[in-house]
Symmetry: C2
Subunit: 480 residues, 2 copies
């Protein structure tokens, strides 16, 4: 795979080092949503800070974001730090462009018992298929380390980095990026003052073969419904039939939110969604995607739509409501005859242009309160927002996207598809507004990487080729 580009050759050569670095990082269970694992999230921040130092980054700061606001069990729980650092400097005779690299080092929860084939926090390399497995390999530890690896490749190839880099690596992305908005706004004219553009590698290709660049994201407002009845769990034989059961109330409220066909039943949301334009319709026609690819990704034929356009539009440009689960009820295997005393139902709504987030919260809370009132239950009831994050959309033909498209074509030989994403990286919008600049989403992994699911993976080829694109993107963006 030798090319005439010494940096790309160096990336190939350093492959074992880069895989080892990812393996070491995956071993730290940095689950931001599990309060008991918070020390591990902090440990991973320190691990990364050391890597940055060793690679020649400077002005490394672990920014303290204070304590985590409620709802939280430990009211003194500290948020994990945001890692700021620089590579390269501007001086009068050598003015380079500055790119801010955002990534997150925290991960989703994962237990072997969830159904993983190997321990989720023990890195596993399938030598034959050249696939790496472990919680965080694709979301987002692999892509984050990609940038560090690219710097190492430039250094060891004896080439000067064509741009300056600033890192902004956070540890709360999987839990609503709490505290990061404020930090970005505060540092906009300080640490981030020279930033020309922002690049985020925290999403995925649409399918498994064609690289993409991403110009839009849905937002996410996450809610919980708490219903309290008896002060402790009860025996359903002894008390069943004479007490109002919180779990029964809960399924009545949850089912009122959404139909099995995906139609959200909360009044007023549909009216806020921007209508589909003719231009938009045409973009969707061009994209390389099929119902079969969706079926393969989900491993079943349980799609709600039978054509590419409807599927993609419902992933990218329409809101959706998912019910994630229930805290407090019986969840184990087998049979337990319990009446749970308190249950907490969890659901979230993916938001799109032009949904107003605050108005959405009010519609959701009003709807739940109204449905619960109709149940005439003596139990106590509360619906609350757990975290929110805005949707984002940008121009896919600006300078940064053009550089990235050229870099992608170098490596994969094809023009990348221009896509939107159903998932949320709410901080994208904050960067855009606070730094008054553009943001590029440059995904490294494939659509079947199983982020947030069991057996999360990243193909070695995506890791390596992803770095090569990053390396050339820095070069092309530095030109002109």
């Amino acid at each position: 795979m030798a090319s005439n580009n010494p940096v790309l050759n160096k990336i190939e050569e350093l492959k074992p080092t880069f895989i080892k670095r990812l393996s070491d990082a995956i071993a730290i269970p940095a689950v931001s949503g599990d309060e008991s694992l918070r020390p591990k999230v902090v440990e991973k921040a320190h691990f990364l800070a050391k890597q940055l130092k060793d690679l020649g980054f400077h002005d490394i700061q672990l920014k303290d974001l204070g304590v985590q606001p409620p709802p939280v069990s430990d009211s003194n729980l500290k948020l994990p730090p945001v890692i700021l650092s620089r590579y390269g400097n501007n001086d009068s005779k050598n003015k380079k462009k500055t790119i801010l690299i955002y990534g997150h080092y925290d991960v989703q929860p994962a237990l072997k018992e969830d159904g993983w084939d190997t321990e989720p926090f023990t890195f596993y390399l399938d030598e034959e298929k050249q696939i790496m497995r472990g919680r965080g390999v694709t979301d987002d530890t692999g892509p984050l380390l990609g940038w560090l690896n690219v710097v190492q490749a430039y250094r060891e190839a004896g080439k000067e980095l064509p741009v300056n880099l600033i890192t902004c690596f956070e540890g709360m992305e999987e839990s609503g990026s709490i505290g990061l908005d404020k930090l970005i706004i505060e540092e906009a004219d300080k640490y981030f003052k020279d930033v020309d553009t922002v690049c985020i590698s925290d999403n995925y290709w649409l399918g498994t073969k064609k690289p993409v660049l991403t110009y839009g994201l849905r937002g996410c407002n996450y809610y919980q419904i708490t219903i309290k009845g008896p002060k402790a769990d009860l025996h359903s034989g002894v008390f069943g039939g004479c007490v109002a059961e919180p779990m029964i109330d809960l399924v009545h409220v949850l089912q009122s939110l959404v139909k099995p066909n995906g139609e959200i039943q909360i009044a007023g949301i549909k009216e806020m969604v921007a209508p589909v334009t003719e231009t938009e319709n045409q973009i969707y026609e061009k994209i390389d995607f099929s119902v079969e690819e969706l079926n393969q990704a989900i491993g079943s034929k349980t799609s709600l739509y039978d054509n590419k356009r409807d599927i993609l539009m419902h992933r990218w440009r329409y809101p959706s409501l998912s019910i994630h689960g229930v805290e407090g009820a019986f969840y184990g295997p087998g049979a337990k005859t319990v009446i749970p005393g308190q249950v907490i139902g969890k659901f979230s709504i993916r938001t799109v242009p032009d949904i107003d987030s605050k108005k959405l919260d009010q519609l959701v809370i009003d709807h739940c309160n109204k449905v619960f009132a109709e149940l005439k239950s003596p139990n106590t009831f509360k619906t609350e927002l757990v975290h929110d994050g805005n949707y984002w959309i940008t121009d896919p033909f600006n300078k940064s996207f053009t550089a990235a498209a050229r870099a992608t074509k170098d490596i994969y030989g094809v023009e990348p598809d221009l896509t939107r994403e159903g998932g949320s990286i709410p901080i994208t919008l904050t960067f855009e507004k606070a730094l008054k600049t553009n943001v590029l989403l440059l995904p490294m992994g494939r659509g079947d990487d199983a982020a947030h699911s069991i057996n999360e993976k990243l193909d070695v080829s995506n890791y390596i080729n992803g770095m090569k694109i990053m390396a050339n993107y820095l070069l092309y963006y530095s030109e002109d």
Copy 2:
């Protein structure tokens, strides 16, 4: 507390020994509903067999019930043994009556994280309040050991036991008593052939002050609904809106089962319930119970009824439907943006005269299938019975009840209330039919003992007084 009865005095004297025996037994986490703890259930059987041997029981047999039938993860999982043993013998010159003592040594699941104040499988004695805490103290390890303790007291007081005893101690009661029916039927003319009556101490007083004898129980049919969609959990951002979510289907089906006011919505069940008679109405008027006692037991004012008669009738003589929880969905604290790929909803119906159990199963399955079909979901759906057990009702003025009422008045100074129970001990009916004899339910613990809940407890006074009642019951039943 000295009396002129040496056996009762001996029970007082041996209190520390009896508490130690319960403490040792509680330390074994014999959770029959958790396949991974099956070796512990078997360990507890061996622990009890040794105690029986040391106390002079003979013909001790640990009856093998074979492998556990589906649904079960390990298709070779063996059922825990039933412990049969004898105390005393019939010979020609000394013909005693024989009482079969039933108890169960398995327990409900319990984790400290559920909210226990102490480790559930570490016995805790509150010295000041004289209350014992631990999973199984009241359900049913304490009462089961009560019989062993009574034999020890008779022996150490130098008194011959006035009856013969046969034990039948099982290890699957909390999981549907799988295999026990068959064993009882098989042993009816063999090991159990001399049995004159059966006594079961596996329920509770109605309240916290007045002892009771129990002449009726509800049955329990436990069901699970399995809905499968994607082959693994999905990221709700990436796939939300374009796949049919099993969890959304599930809440729609679950809410169709029962109204928040407790009214079961499955057609055909109400029609099978025996009508209330005038005599029955009068029995309910006499019972010492109030709405306030219910509120105290449940720790909240979330009763569905505002008067004694409705509350007791809905606990004892009407069916109820409880939703226990969901396996496969997100259940932890915090926020996880997952679309569960497969969910299993658990619910059960408490049954009463004259509900036909098989007909009930069919009504439930037909109802669920009908509701699911109306959802027009592409997911796969199955409703199945996990375990069932019949209701039971008997004459509360027979010889065994009369002996127990007299023994109770000796110790507590009052006539016991004659009650029914909302809970299920399905094996009661099997004993009655297979052995062609009566069954007495003689509870030891109080209504607030928190069986199946956190901080399960048994007052030391109930443990000791319960044994004294058992001791005198054996005596009075032997007379005549």
